[in-house]
């Protein structure tokens, strides 16, 4: 597929009209009806056409007996009928000239039977013969908050600059909910399922050329034309980072892949070399995926791997330093000039002026924190900053630590946006629901203000290490 054709995939994400083949009159169970319900609820502004030969009205919408009976050719058709009825539905689409189709229905190659494979081959053959663009089968299809196309994924969702290509609707659901709640919005997500017609390289090519997408997050289990994906990714990564979560690395995982999307996972050693050669950023779980996307979405580029650690407690300083080194980053000694700026306000006993900066005052007095940050921003050996923050209730001997200081901190960091990547950690995942709430509120507040905040130092460092490696590789092209 050439880029000219790739552009047309945009039609999936901003249709002015959608027909749904396979809606029941009563049931609101998962399928055509539940999609219609969610689109209505999301305030989808286009025209919705339920297709049901026996109904006159579905969910308050006028129902039509067939695509032929519609007053227009729908921009998008969703097919949610039984698997064996899908080929006829596709032929009907082609007959009326509807070319963009999402097949929700499962029961194709992923069920592992000759019938399933045969049915999928027929679907692909019809698509080829009649020039149809099909997402699926066995998938949740397109998602786009800007178009109120949010029948799944984070609901109501948040419009943003992230593009998502995924072989799992479930994983994408969690991912979009997670990252939207932190203020990083999604431009478009495609859940591609068995990818019998349109595959991940098609959507990669589309998102590469889509000016609304800055960062591409991919969940893949398998790929048909790995070579095309490889060649495309090599061209895309210098301009738009690709953060890829690859499922099916273990033998057990790979076996599960074939029953999930009917495909083969491929050799993990080969995928490793794909990441090496293309500069794709690999992650191994949902948390790393979100963490990296936060960093890549929000941070200015980094010019090196020197981390300045601001926090309190000797033990934390040691553990945090270890985490940096383990991740391939450095904790450089500050210059004499920086030390000269920090030393005056750091007590000699009970604190350590240096890197890490172990000084409780940074939790309590914003001016101390800001002076330390200013010193770090002007110190050539420092390239990134991690600031540890506490939830007020666990700042055990400092009852005057209140969350009021956060607004000022956010303002300070925002005013120095182009300085050096600066992230925060607010570390609580124990069982006290009140502390959990306080911790997640603080993190979300930072993130929504454009400052990545992580629930552990290790997760912050994992994201920064990936960000640094990307910036090192692509240099001037990276960051914002």
């Amino acid at each position: 597929m050439s880029l000219k054709n790739a552009r047309e995939l945009g039609s999936f994400f901003n249709p002015e009209s959608i027909a749904v083949i396979g809606v029941s009159r009563e049931s609101m169970s998962f399928g055509g009806s539940s999609f219609l319900h969610h689109w209505l609820k999301a305030g989808y502004s286009g025209r919705l056409y339920p297709i049901n030969p026996k109904a006159t009205e579905v969910l308050g919408l006028k129902a039509y007996p067939s695509l032929r009976a519609l007053p227009e050719v729908p921009d998008l058709v969703m097919v949610a009928v039984r698997a064996d009825l899908v080929p006829a539905a596709l032929t009907e689409c082609a007959d009326v000239g509807a070319r963009f189709i999402h097949v929700l229905t499962a029961g194709f190659s992923e069920i592992g039977t000759p019938e399933g494979r045969e049915l999928e081959a027929r679907l692909a053959a019809i698509a080829k013969e009649r020039n149809l663009r099909i997402i699926g089968p066995n998938c949740m299809g397109p998602y786009s908050p800007a178009s109120h196309l949010t029948a799944w994924g984070g609901i109501p969702g948040l419009d943003g600059r992230l593009g998502i290509i995924s072989q799992s609707g479930g994983v994408t659901q969690r991912f979009t909910e997670y990252i939207s709640s932190l203020g990083v919005g999604v431009s478009k997500a495609a859940s591609i399922g068995n990818a019998a017609v349109l595959d991940s390289p098609d959507f990669l090519e589309f998102m590469a050329g889509d000016s609304d997408v800055d960062l591409i997050a991919v969940y893949l289990e398998s790929i048909r034309d790995g070579r095309r994906f490889f060649d495309l990714a090599r061209r895309v990564t210098p301009r738009k980072p690709i953060i890829l979560l690859k499922g099916g690395e273990s033998r057990r995982g790979a076996a599960t892949v074939s029953s999930h999307t009917g495909r083969m996972a491929g050799d993990p050693v080969i995928w490793k070399s794909v990441f090496e050669q293309t500069g794709i950023v690999p992650v191994t779980n949902l948390q790393e995926w979100v963490d990296a996307c936060l960093a890549f979405s929000l941070l200015p580029k980094t010019r090196g791997k020197g981390v300045f650690i601001v926090g309190g407690g000797g033990g934390n300083s040691v553990i945090f330093s270890d985490a940096c080194i383990r991740a391939g980053l450095e904790v450089p000694t500050l210059t004499d000039r920086s030390m000269g700026r920090i030393r005056p306000f750091v007590p000699v006993a009970g604190s350590i002026a240096g890197n890490p900066l172990d000084f409780w005052g940074t939790y309590l007095v914003n001016d101390f924190l800001f002076e330390a940050l200013n010193a770090a921003y002007e110190d050539d050996s420092i390239h990134m900053v991690v600031v540890d923050r506490l939830i007020p209730r666990i700042a055990f001997h400092s009852p005057d630590l209140t969350s009021d200081s956060f607004a000022e901190i956010v303002e300070f960091i925002q005013s120095r946006r182009q300085a050096k990547p600066t992230v925060f950690t607010i570390d609580y995942d124990g069982g006290d629901s009140d502390l959990i709430r306080q911790g997640s509120d603080l993190r979300a507040r930072f993130c929504r203000a454009g400052i990545p905040a992580y629930p552990s130092f290790e997760r912050a460092i994992g994201a920064l290490a990936r960000f640094y490696r990307y910036c090192r590789r692509f240099g001037h092209a990276a960051g914002r």
């Binding site: 398998s222 790929i223 048909r224 034309d225 790995g226 070579r227 490889f230 083969m264 491929g266 050799d267 050693v269 080969i270 490793k272 070399s273 794909v274 090496e276 050669q277």
Partner: protein, 225 residues
């Protein structure tokens, strides 16, 4: 584009699915790879003449469409120093299934590496670099990249090997010619791209590396079914 001679070799090899070593060596030398001097003999007279021309010591190997893994049938004899041993070896090898001749080659020394290629079902031609001998079997000390490669890729592959110190000189051993090795890897990746429609996998094993050069001492080319 494949050279005409190479196409002819693939055509003739199709009936047993892989390329016999003398033909594989021929392909490699056509593409500029360094290979050992060799001859193929079916009779005592031919064998002795070939060995004397190359110069003892030599290595003798079975050539048979029925034998893909030569060492499994004791079809490789190294360090043959005289006519008598050579003739005895020929007598034994000629009894092996499918005997089509005995390849007599110059003995080459050096650090043993494996350079391989595989046509992956999803990604196409991949190039492998690994330590030869027990290194590849026990330590799985290999590095993999998609073909075609640039010198920079070949360099990264070498850096990725756990045993890279053996290449750069360890405890007084002479470092191998890394430029020659990189050139070999890069050229091989291009050859694999050219052959990808017909070839399933290739093993250059071993590639003998010294301070001077890299010589492909054995090659097996498996064709696509």
């Amino acid at each position: 584009m494949l050279k005409k001679e190479v196409k002819a070799i693939f055509e003739k090899s199709r009936k047993w699915g892989w390329v016999l070593e003398p033909d594989a060596q021929k392909i490699l030398s056509l593409y500029g790879f360094k290979t050992p001097k060799f001859g193929v003999a079916a009779t005592e007279g031919e064998a002795v003449a070939a060995a004397r021309k190359i110069g003892y010591p030599v290595v003798a190997k079975i050539v048979s469409p029925a034998v893909v893994h030569k060492s499994d049938v004791k079809g490789v004899v190294v360090g043959i120093k005289d006519d008598e041993t050579l003739v005895r070896t020929l007598a034994r090898l000629s009894k092996i299934d499918g005997f089509a001749g005995m390849l007599i080659a110059e003995m080459v020394k050096g650090l043993e590496l494996i350079v391989g290629a595989k046509n992956d079902f999803q990604f196409g031609p991949m190039i492998l670099l690994g330590m030869g001998g027990v290194g590849v079997e026990i330590y799985k000390d290999v590095s993999l990249r998609m073909a075609p490669l640039k010198t920079r890729d070949a360099d990264h592959m070498i850096q990725e090997l756990a045993a890279r110190k053996l290449l750069t000189g360890y405890r007084g051993s002479e470092p191998v010619n890394l430029n020659a090795l990189k050139k070999t890897i890069v050229a091989f990746s291009h050859l694999m791209m050219d052959m990808r429609d017909v070839v399933e996998s290739v093993d250059l094993n071993p590639v003998m590396c010294t301070a001077k050069s890299c010589i492909v001492a054995d090659a097996r080319i498996m064709l696509k079914k």
